[in-house]
């Protein structure tokens, strides 16, 4: 048997730990939209972001959507979560991993035409690591495991 004074101390520790955990969980739950790094194109389409507000949008670069200007670093592409699209304008150096079918997070503002004017574009690579040979073999078999699961809306 545990001695009574020790049991009392252990009980107090458990009480404090449980109390603090509940407080932390409630705080994080209340702040969930602020903690999210980016909005999905569906959230943008639903008007969750005010006009002129600085925010980040995350999605896949839609296949065939990248238009690179001939005489400058300006680029236009479409970010998608496979439900809604957001057109993105950007001028600058893109990360090495930027390509069609790649996940990106862009920071900027929506203009009056609903086009996202990005000041920064980051590449969001996924959690599937494989050699080029494996990737080629899988593509030949018609499987694309590298596909991002960009959520169209937050689950909570």
């Amino acid at each position: 048997m545990m001695k009574p004074h020790r049991r009392k101390r252990l009980g107090l520790i458990v009480f404090i730990a449980v109390g603090m955990s509940i407080a932390a969980a409630l705080t994080l739950f209340a702040l969930r939209q602020n903690i999210n790094m980016f909005y999905s194109p569906s959230q943008v389409a639903a008007g969750e972001v005010g006009a002129g507000e600085l925010f980040r949008v995350g999605g896949m670069v839609k296949n065939g959507s990248v238009e690179q200007a001939q005489d400058s670093l300006a680029v236009r592409f479409v970010a998608t979560d496979f439900v809604h699209d957001v057109a993105v304008d950007y001028e600058g150096i893109l990360p090495d991993l930027f390509r069609e079918g790649q996940g990106i997070v862009a920071e900027g503002r929506l203009d009056s035409a609903g086009v996202f004017q990005a000041s920064r574009v980051l590449a969001k690579h996924d959690e599937n690591y494989m050699s080029p040979e494996v990737k080629a073999a899988l593509e030949q078999a018609g499987i694309s495991p590298g596909k991002h699961r960009f959520r169209s809306a937050p689950e909570n």
């Binding site: 730990a17 932390a24 994080l28 980016f38 990360p95 991993l97 590449a123 959690e127 494989m130 959520r151």
Partner: protein
């Protein structure tokens, strides 16, 4: 009444700990050196480059191993802290005291390797809006806080109890770090689901090197913590007969 918890007091004897770890040290050091060499050579020479990231992905072997180990410090300090608070066993606090600076170093290395990796793959060294990055930075600061708290309190028994309580509460942040990439939108990718099949995404050719490195890093952690704790024992027990005999015998 010789209670059910008697074993804990036997295990908590500094003298027993010192004698036992003297026997363990060569084995721990040997295993660590071997696995560290195998893991490093594997990661640099035999790990296939990733189809997207090329050779950049090799850093994951170090980053994942160090990051995983850095998450073990708060749970370890919380268990030691609970033993300190409930049973008042001195050895537990000696372990907790030396775990904090080591944990800060592990957290720093996690942030540094991740930052280097991110600068190449994401196109940014740091993002304040990514909850995985910020919660890991928070762990680094929390560990600095535990170290400062102990240094700030003059009474060592009070300091031990205060640090124990902070370590227990700090475990909440470990859960936040772990699940941040699943609960919220982040730039950081979620954990990779490992595959047992060679030639499939996240197959053994990718994760075996990381697993070897992870074991090596945990051995390094154990070795560092044991060595630091042994110093602490000699310092705190310097008046004990067995320490005097040990010191005289060594010279």
């Amino acid at each position: 009444m010789a209670g059910r918890w008697q074993w804990l007091h036997r295990l908590g004897s500094p003298r027993w700990f010192y004698a036992t770890t003297t026997r363990w040290l060569p084995w721990l050091a040997g295993a660590m050196a071997l696995l560290l060499a195998v893991g490093t050579v594997w990661a640099l020479l035999y790990l296939p480059p990733d189809y997207q990231q090329g050779d950049t992905s090799r850093i994951l072997v170090v980053h994942v191993a160090v990051a995983g180990a850095s998450l073990s410090f708060f749970p370890l300090m919380a268990v030691a802290g609970t033993v300190t608070l409930v049973w008042r066993i001195k050895l537990a606090d000696m372990v907790a005291k030396n775990a904090a600076p080591l944990g800060a170093w592990f957290s720093f290395l996690t942030l540094a390797t991740g930052s280097i990796w991110g600068s190449v793959s994401w196109g940014t060294w740091w993002e304040w809006t990514d909850s995985r990055l910020v919660s890991m930075l928070f762990q680094f600061f929390l560990l600095l806080g535990v170290i400062s708290l102990r240094a700030a309190l003059d009474n060592s028994a009070t300091a031990a109890r205060a640090c124990a309580l902070l370590s227990i509460v700090g475990c909440i942040n470990v859960v936040v770090i772990k699940y941040s990439v699943q609960w919220w939108n982040t730039l950081h990718q979620p954990p990779s689901p490992i595959s047992m099949q060679v030639g499939s995404p996240n197959g053994p050719e990718f994760w075996v090197a990381t697993a070897i490195m992870a074991v090596a890093v945990y051995l390094f952690l154990a070795l560092s913590l044991i060595l630091a704790t042994r110093n602490e024992i000699l310092e705190r027990e310097s008046k004990a007969q067995w320490v005097r005999e040990l010191a005289l015998g060594a010279t």
